[in-house]
């Protein structure tokens, strides 16, 4: 019996793993199972009823009275408004014109657009829905191979949560106590690297197999130079304005991420109003969509907070250390690669919120003690955590795309025409997941990819 009492945290984890697959909302399963195991713990005398009281101070201090997390609803709101502001259509058209002579030009313009939109929005849903609605019909009309079309859109849309601003970086920074500004700076180059890998792949495959990506007819595009520049101005000024407003103010040290998010939301509202998309009815729809996404994120916080607390109270931390030792993992590299492998595998079934909120608290004590020494250069623990979070983020990019449960795939499934099946989508994302893993390996091998920019702007000194 004593053995059971000592290993309750293991059972807690096993039960969670099984019960999550009932399809009942994750947050309720996390919370409900924690209460159940708290009660079992009481029966074994290793848990006190009053310990549940800790739930409230934790919700309060960790979620509510947390100025950093105010950035999350603001970035969600900004992304949702932008999605419906009509900025995307102009931008895609301009990019199409610019890339019309390159092999796979239309697909490349989608990736470029995903990259630019990613720098203006912190969520994935907005970019993916926007790209699918705007770009997929154009690609189908041109006779693109379906797999290539959906793979391009899915991967480009997913960049939204890696390239700053990003609510994922806000949440991971909050969990591991790294400043959000540092993480935003660190994520820029890895994000651009992925974008570059996608572009290179699309260009190469379109060059060798032109039938997959037929070029645009040359008559597309403006006739005169004046028209051309008017188009460029109309389409590039709004996103540039938002990027400078949000990222510029953070990297320049003028605003906290929360302030930048609020100002960005105001900017997005202005753009929507300028484009004539801001009726009362439309604003209500934006609010509803943003509020539901926001509630989804924070409700998992609610459940995971109680879960992590009960897990720890039942001795989970020691068990994690023990399990790592049992598996023979004790050097920093072994633990890092183990966590990366685990996150990749979990990504097939879970999405980033659960992975961040369940895995990070469990491994945080172990991670904070890791020293990578010369591989990371100067700076100590904070440098490691910054690098680690960026690796997590690149790795989690795959979780959006890997079947059967990928957030991006769900957003797409709801938006694509019926002629595109799940099989097309699954086949389409494979090369892009491989590219993401290549990006991850590069970021592991060359930490400066993540660390150079934050050092440069003075965030890591």
């Amino acid at each position: 019996m004593a053995w059971v009492a000592q290993h309750l945290s293991v059972f807690l984890f096993l039960f969670l793993a099984i019960l999550l697959f009932t399809g009942y909302p994750v947050a309720f399963v996390l919370g409900g199972i924690a209460i159940f195991f708290g009660a079992v713990g009481m029966a074994f005398g290793v848990f006190e009823p009053m310990m549940f009281f800790n739930l409230l101070p934790r919700i309060w201090g960790g979620i509510a009275a947390n100025p950093i997390l105010v950035a999350v609803p603001m970035f969600i709101f900004m992304g949702t408004v932008l999605e419906r502001s009509g900025v995307a259509n102009d931008l895609l058209h301009a990019l199409q014109v610019l890339t019309r002579r390159v092999p796979g030009g239309l697909a490349m313009s989608v990736t470029l657009m995903g990259t630019i939109m990613a720098a203006t929005t912190g969520i994935v849903g907005a970019s993916v829905v926007m790209l699918t609605l705007v770009a997929l019909p154009a690609m189908m009309q041109r006779g693109y191979q379906k797999e290539l079309a959906v793979g391009t859109i899915a991967s480009a849309g997913t960049l939204g949560i890696l390239i700053p601003p990003s609510i994922m970086l806000v949440i991971m920074g909050d969990l591991l106590q790294v400043s959000v500004g540092t993480l935003f700076a660190a994520a820029v180059l890895p994000g651009l690297l992925l974008s570059f890998l996608y572009l290179a792949y699309i260009c190469a495959i379109s060059f060798y197999k032109p039938e997959l990506a037929p070029p645009l007819p040359p008559e597309v595009g403006p006739k005169t130079a004046a028209e051309f520049w008017a188009m460029i101005g109309k389409s590039f000024v709004p996103p540039t304005f938002l990027i400078v407003l949000v990222l510029g103010s953070i990297f320049g040290g003028w605003a906290t991420p929360t302030e930048a998010a609020g100002v960005g939301a105001a900017g997005a509202l202005l753009l929507a109003w300028y484009n004539g998309r801001l009726s009362l009815k439309e604003l209500n729809r934006m609010i509803e969509s943003a509020a539901l996404t926001n509630a989804l994120v924070f409700f998992i916080f609610f459940g995971a907070t109680l879960f992590a607390f009960v897990f720890r109270a039942l001795g989970g931390d020691d068990i994690v250390t023990e399990v790592l030792k049992l598996l023979g993992l004790d050097t920093g590299w072994e633990i890092l690669l183990f966590v990366m492998g685990l996150v990749f595998l979990l990504g097939f079934f879970f999405d980033w919120i659960e992975i961040c909120l369940i895995v990070l608290p469990v491994f945080a004590p172990v991670l904070k003690g890791i020293d990578f020494g010369p591989h990371l250069g100067e700076g100590g623990a904070i440098v490691f955590l910054t690098w680690f979070i960026i690796l997590m983020s690149v790795n989690l990019q795959t979780s959006f795309l890997t079947p059967p449960f990928g957030f991006t795939l769900f957003y797409m499934k709801g938006t694509v025409p019926p002629s595109i099946t799940m099989a097309h989508i699954y086949r389409g994302i494979i090369p892009f997941v491989v590219l993401q893993l290549i990006g991850l390996v590069v970021a592991i091998a060359f930490p400066e990819l993540a660390l150079w920019l934050p050092r440069k702007v003075g965030f890591l000194n």
Partner: protein, 188 residues
Amino acid sequence: MERLLAASAAIERALYRLSMAAGWLFVACTVVIVFDVLTRKFGFQLPGMGSTRLQELEWHLHTALFCFWLGTAYLKNAHVRIDILVARTAPRRLAWIELLGVLLFALPYCLVAIYFSYDFFHTAWQYNESSDSATGLPWRWIPKGIISIGLMLLLAAVISVGLRLVVYLWGPERLRRAAAFAGARAQP
């Protein structure tokens, strides 16, 4: 059975209206942040509206924003589900799973959380707790109370879903269609 269904629908309508009204806090929060940034940049402030207060107001609004939507998000089926293993399960069995989830996970969680959150609010109320900062906002029991209210609204949503499931599983044929747990697994 008609009454159960009507009660469920009434809860749903009331929650949705309340949530939509609270949704405007997105706009309010945007305005507060912009106002705070501008006043600080230009170095003036209105009496009683210093930066500390505004920044506290921001997270008060943020708290209300997610609290007032927890329940509605369940009714709109927005909460994340891992539904790959049950994707092809028959609707009736899904309703059973959902009902068990309501009884075993959602209700205990809501009840425990409400009990302690009320306690948490009550202490703040008794001592008329205000901000730790001298220049901060008074009445800290308001955001603490909002957490409690949010959990109660969540409980109301859980009850609404539970009632509908009961009608769906045991009600007369003509009501079942209306009671079908519409949101369940229909969308991501």
